[in-house]
Symmetry: C2
Subunit: 165 residues, 2 copies
């Protein structure tokens, strides 16, 4: 049995590569970009989450707020680049989900290089993220975020929370 | 990448080992035992189902009635013993789901040996099956089935479909 291949198979079914965008007054263009990798399991089957955590040497495990599962999650960009994305370069997913892994990897690298701190880099990140999980629901559309970034208008204004920036 | 290990990891999250019991007038003790292995996936990620089918050389793929997914399924007892159970003996699941695989394997072997055609064998199969997926819902309880088997009373009588046996 090859554990690394096993984990890729498991993640192909159960893993989630996510890039979320949150309006933020603390960030240069009004948005915080948050990439994360996660896998959830019923608590009685959590052993595998601990095995992944041990193999990769990163991430944390906590109860998921939404249900009675445990969630293994990696949010640190350096770990995402060096441990998570690197794993799926060596042991790629065999389904079309690997397309998302490649986009996710590119986004993490751009953030790791600080490219999210300039307009072009951030726009590239938004576009890549909007190509991921097209069936998933998003709080903010790519157009909303890109328009807000370009105009310099903070989305928090719209919600009546006029910021100081 | 080791494909067999990958598939075990995938099945750990997404696979279903199931043993169902159906009242039947055609069967000696009034019950048909149906073991099956299945994995469902969204149609756009079905590639993996075809890879499993090719690796094992058995099973069929069809649209799942319940939703918009495709289901890979193995129902032939010989294939279950020689291809499916045999795979998970060589590449066992790493979660507690492997306990169910062992029970499932024992049930398939008993049926393969024709033990479901005698009272003791069938009772053993029912007991093993009731220990599987304890959180899952069952149409008939183990007690109902065992009582019906022992008394020789067909459960179809209860539904008003008095049989000829």
């Amino acid at each position: 049995m090859d554990l690394a291949s096993y984990i890729s198979g498991f993640v192909d079914g159960e893993g989630c590569f996510c890039v979320s965008f949150q309006p933020s007054r603390r960030h240069k263009f009004g948005w915080e970009v948050r990439p994360s990798f996660s896998v959830s399991q019923n608590a009685d089957r959590a052993k595998l989450l601990y095995m992944i955590q041990e193999l990769w040497g990163c991430g944390f495990i906590r109860p998921d707020r939404s249900d009675k599962t445990l969630k293994f999650e990696v949010r640190t960009v350096r770990d995402l680049v060096e441990k998570v994305v690197s794993h799926f370069q060596k042991y790629p997913l065999l389904s079309s989900k690997q397309d998302d892994v490649l986009r996710f990897g590119r986004i993490c690298e751009l953030i790791h290089q600080g490219q999210h701190l300039n307009l072009e880099g951030l726009e590239q990140i938004v576009r890549l993220a909007m190509e991921m999980n097209p069936s998933g629901k998003r709080k903010y559309s790519g157009i909303e975020i890109l328009t807000s970034i370009r105009s310099g208008e903070r989305i928090v204004y719209a919600a009546g929370n006029r910021g100081s920036t």
